[in-house]
Amino acid sequence: MVSIFFAYFALASIAAGVLTVALRHPVHCGLALLALLVHVSGLFILLNAEFLWAVQIIVYAGAILVLYLFVLMLMNLKTDDRYLHSSYLYFLVPAAIGSLFVLALLVRSPFGGAKGDATTAAILQDGDTHAVGIKMFSEYLLQFEIVGIFLLGAVIGAIVLAKTPKPPSRERKA
């Protein structure tokens, strides 16, 4: 049962990713990106990360994607006839060869390593949100604060960049 879900989410997210890159109209690309984000969040559920699932839906599909679609519709883009870069075939063939090599390596490797303390039973006892919260506000508090400062800087930067510049004549009078 789980493997059926995994196959569906994996294939659908890969198909949506390819469509995001390959579709011609930018709004269609945005909608394909939405499908990709939702299916990737399904993969998170299969990995017992339901807090990340909620964050993916709320932040990615709810905030970031809406921001993209908002800018797309605000700018009323015209679709180019040549929407791909002029020399894309030079990238396509090496990328295909490289991805086949990476896939062959991945399927063969065992990925062993030292196990941590967060076993599946321990996470399922109190829920993933509890486990993430305990870890974030004990060991990762400094990183949490750094991300907060980063987001503050991003907000101020976005406002400064997107603000309409004053006409120069009015500045001279004042």
Binding site: V21, L47, L67, S86, G116, A154
Partner: protein
């Protein structure tokens, strides 16, 4: 039980798709969307390893990656608006006014 390498393979395919999008698309907004695909591929990797190696660190890093992706999207789209106001084009080949 799904092997870890299956998740890593999905993540690798998605990452290469996003990388191709960054390299071959000419619309700046689609280039930013391809960066989001790459960040999502990294998140799948982090959470898969977090589950199979039974450590919480991967999920926390994935959470920080999502926050940084939000900031990157806001700044990138603000830059697009500034460029679009001046040049009426979002083609990455025509955005060369920092080059002299």
């Amino acid at each position: 039980m799904i092997p870890l390498s299956a998740y890593v393979a999905v993540s690798a395919v998605l990452f290469i798709t996003g990388l191709l999008g960054v390299l071959i698309r000419r619309n700046f907004i689609i280039v930013l969307m391809s960066v989001e695909i790459m960040l999502n591929a990294a998140n799948i990797n982090l959470i898969a390893f977090s589950h199979y190696l039974e450590s919480m660190a991967g999920q926390l890093v994935a959470l920080f990656v999502i926050a940084i992706a939000a900031g990157e999207a806001a700044i990138g789209l603000a830059i697009i608006i500034v460029v679009f106001r001046g040049k009426i084009s979002t083609n990455v080949d025509e955005m060369n006014f920092l080059k002299w």
